[in-house]
């Protein structure tokens, strides 16, 4: 009984507070990461040779370095060159740049999978390059990129917990704080885990919905 | 045709029925095969020949029906009984189903090693002998993907023979082959027949089958409609459908032997 009361009065409010911060991390990072990822992905396909080299280099580093290392660079490293970020901003920056690199992989693959004939057909109809990209290439590429980019979003939900390691107190952080005070590690981290599980499951379900909605009969979204 | 005499019943199938959803793919099919006999199933595609053959060694579990091998009923729900039975029944598939990760030799050896627990040396000797028997002495180290269709089917026959089967079930053994590769497989099957192997074969190669078969069974819509010696079935069948089917097939495939 006392236990229940404790959970209701102390644990739940703290975890909900943490959840709010987590969502404030995930949503902007997810949106900016996707936008930047589309941009970088497009550059990697249609850019000039040195732009390609530059963007490929970006992707190698940001996919190759562990996310913790990247977060530490933004939070502990940047002050050395005079840039001071709050833990929250450093986290958003870190998540955005890292997930953009992953998104760009899927976006690049999607662009490359559009057959040359589509472009030729559009040109033959007198489309300008921009019109062609907007009305012919993007709608197809988008469908192909959705499964991969969706997965990336689910990863982001889980990896947002790393913000705690640079002292941004979100869901995991709040959990750690109460758990250390009360020594109820098992119960509290189980609850924290369940909240993440709920978020990732919701995201998975809605992504599946979106994929189904976008499906074109006979057009394989996964295998070009 | 073989001389009549004291004949031993090898395989008996009684009223085997298989339903998918509510459609009966095989309806109360019965047949009996004596030692050294060759029975050939003919009939239109989708008529249930393949399902019946797969039911006979329980790769597809029949809904009803009983099966005896050498007078002993097969209790397929008892795993040990089932595995022992399958060892004695050789199965040849339309699309060979060679194990893709093993060489020709490995394909023949694996059941000898894993199922019959033979020593490495014995298994190897036996496998080499069987591959020689089907004329593949020079190809034993090749992987399935490096063999032609006809060679693959011969490996699969060697694989079945190595288990000393009492009866062989052949499910359209040449249907997946290019026409020029059919002959080599037919030759192997013919040789088996000459050696007295008991066989049940489904095929569309009527010309080949009529020379080999002791008896032909016409199967349509899951039912064994008519049974008889090849000459009778092909030339003077009782049922109109059988006549129609045989007329079409002998017209089309009559020359293939």
């Amino acid at each position: 009984m006392e236990e229940l009361l404790f959970i209701r009065q102390d644990v739940l409010p703290a975890l909900l507070r943490g959840l709010r911060i987590s969502l404030m991390l995930i949503i902007p990072s997810g949106l900016c990461g996707f936008a930047l990822g589309v941009f970088v992905g497009a550059l990697r396909v249609y850019g000039s040779p040195w732009v390609k080299r530059l963007t490929n280099g970006y992707v190698i580093i940001f996919r190759g370095f562990p996310l913790v290392v990247q977060l530490f660079i933004w939070y502990f490293g940047l002050p050395h060159i005079g840039i001071y970020l709050t833990p929250f901003l450093a986290s958003v920056l870190g998540f955005t740049l890292c997930s953009a690199a992953y998104h760009s992989e899927y976006v690049r693959g999607a662009f490359q999978s559009i057959k040359g004939g589509q472009r030729l057909a559009a040109q033959a109809l007198g489309f300008t390059k921009l019109e062609m990209i907007r009305t012919i290439i993007l709608p197809q590429a988008f469908r192909r990129a959705v499964p991969g980019c969706g997965n990336e979003l689910i990863y982001l939900i889980k990896y947002s917990s790393l913000a705690y390691m640079i002292t941004c107190i979100e869901l995991t952080g709040e959990g750690k704080v109460i758990a250390s005070e009360t020594f109820k590690y098992t119960e509290i981290f189980f609850m924290v885990g369940l909240i993440y599980l709920l978020l990732t499951s919701l995201a998975t379900l809605s992504l599946r919905r979106i994929e189904d909605k976008l499906r074109i009969p006979g057009f394989d979204n996964y295998n070009p | 045709m073989r001389a009549m005499g004291e004949q031993k019943e090898v395989l008996k199938v009684e009223k085997v029925t298989k339903k998918y959803a509510s459609k009966e793919v095989v309806k109360e099919a019965s047949l009996a095969v004596n030692e050294g006999e060759i029975k050939v199933l003919i009939g239109p595609s989708g008529g249930g020949k393949s399902t019946l053959l797969q039911c006979i060694n329980f790769l597809v579990t029949p809904d009803k029906g009983r099966i005896w091998l050498e007078g002993k009923e097969v209790l397929h729900s008892q795993k040990k009984n089932l595995y022992e039975y399958r060892q004695k029944v050789g199965m040849i598939f339309q699309d060979f189903n060679l194990f893709d990760h093993l060489t020709a030799l490995g394909n023949v050896e694996i059941a000898l090693l894993k199922v019959r627990k033979m020593t490495k040396k014995d298994a190897r000797d036996r496998a080499v002998a069987e591959l020689e028997r089907v004329g593949l002495r020079d190809h034993i180290r090749k992987y399935p993907a490096q063999l032609s269709g006809g060679q693959k089917q011969r490996v699969s026959i060697a694989r079945a023979l190595a288990m000393d089967p009492k009866v062989m079930l052949l499910d359209e053994p040449t249907s997946a082959l290019d026409p020029e590769l059919i002959t080599e497989v037919h030759a192997v099957i013919k040789a088996l027949g000459a050696e007295g192997m008991t066989m049940v074969m489904a095929t569309h190669q009527i010309g080949f089958a009529s020379h080999l078969a002791d008896e032909m069974l016409f199967m349509e819509d899951g039912i064994i409609v008519e049974t008889g010696a090849p000459a009778k079935l092909l030339l003077q069948a009782e049922y109109a459908r059988t006549r129609e089917f045989c007329a079409k097939l002998t017209g089309r495939y009559g020359e293939t032997r």
């Binding site: 190698i60 580093i61 190759g64 370095f65 562990p66 996310l67 913790v68 290392v69 990247q70 530490f72 660079i73 502990f76 490293g77 002050p79 050395h80 889980k158 990896y159 947002s160 917990s161 705690y164 390691m165 995991t172 758990a179 590690y185 098992t186 119960e187 981290f189 189980f190 924290v192 885990g193 993440y196 599980l197 990732t200 499951s201 | 797969q54 060694n57 790769l59 795993k79 595995y83 039975y85 399958r86 060892q87 050789g90 199965m91 598939f93 189903n97 060679l98 194990f99 893709d100 990760h101 694996i110 059941a111 894993k114 199922v115 090749k142 992987y143 399935p144 993907a145 694989r159 079945a160």
Partner: protein, 222 residues
Amino acid sequence: MLEYLTAIGDALPYLLQGSLVTIALVVGAMALGLVIGILLAVGLVYGPPYIRALFSMYVWFFRGVPLLVLLFLFYFGLFTLVGINISAFTAAVIVLGLISSAYQSQIFRGGILSLPEGQLKAARALGMSDGKAICSIVLPQALRLSIPGWSNEYSIVLKDSAIAYALGVAEVMARAHFVASRTYQHLPLYFTAGVIFLILTYMGTKALRVLEERLRIPGYMR
């Protein structure tokens, strides 16, 4: 610049020792994940409904909860609760391995499902029990097909292993941070740590590509 280089040079031996710890973490986790992952995959494909439901729950759980939360849950919570006293290193290997097993099971499951049905049928027709058929016919093929996916999983586990720093495991990241907070050379040290991870990724995936080539079945294309 020179200052950066000396900072890196001084710390390098210490960081490289840490990379041995990182390698040990990853090898342990991948091996644990391999064993459990194979069991899960076989159960998910061939098991009875209740096994499939149970295994799906396992996969759902370990794929849906962040590594950091599971590290805390197991190391501070569960292990202590049941009275097992294990090192942070062992705890990290176990948690990384359990998560990886959930992902690996999906890779192997895909491999098994991509095999033609006739392979299992032919094995059964020879009188093999399902267990034997799975071990000597299905898995040798399915695992070969899984190597590219496994290589990808390796690079993920490798990067995730840096999170073991949160439990105080002295792997590359932890050491980089330790030195950095003493020498105040954060940028070059973190960068070096990152490059070490890049090199480990490259070496591992390269080795797996060699393995894949070695195990390739002649003439076989998919």
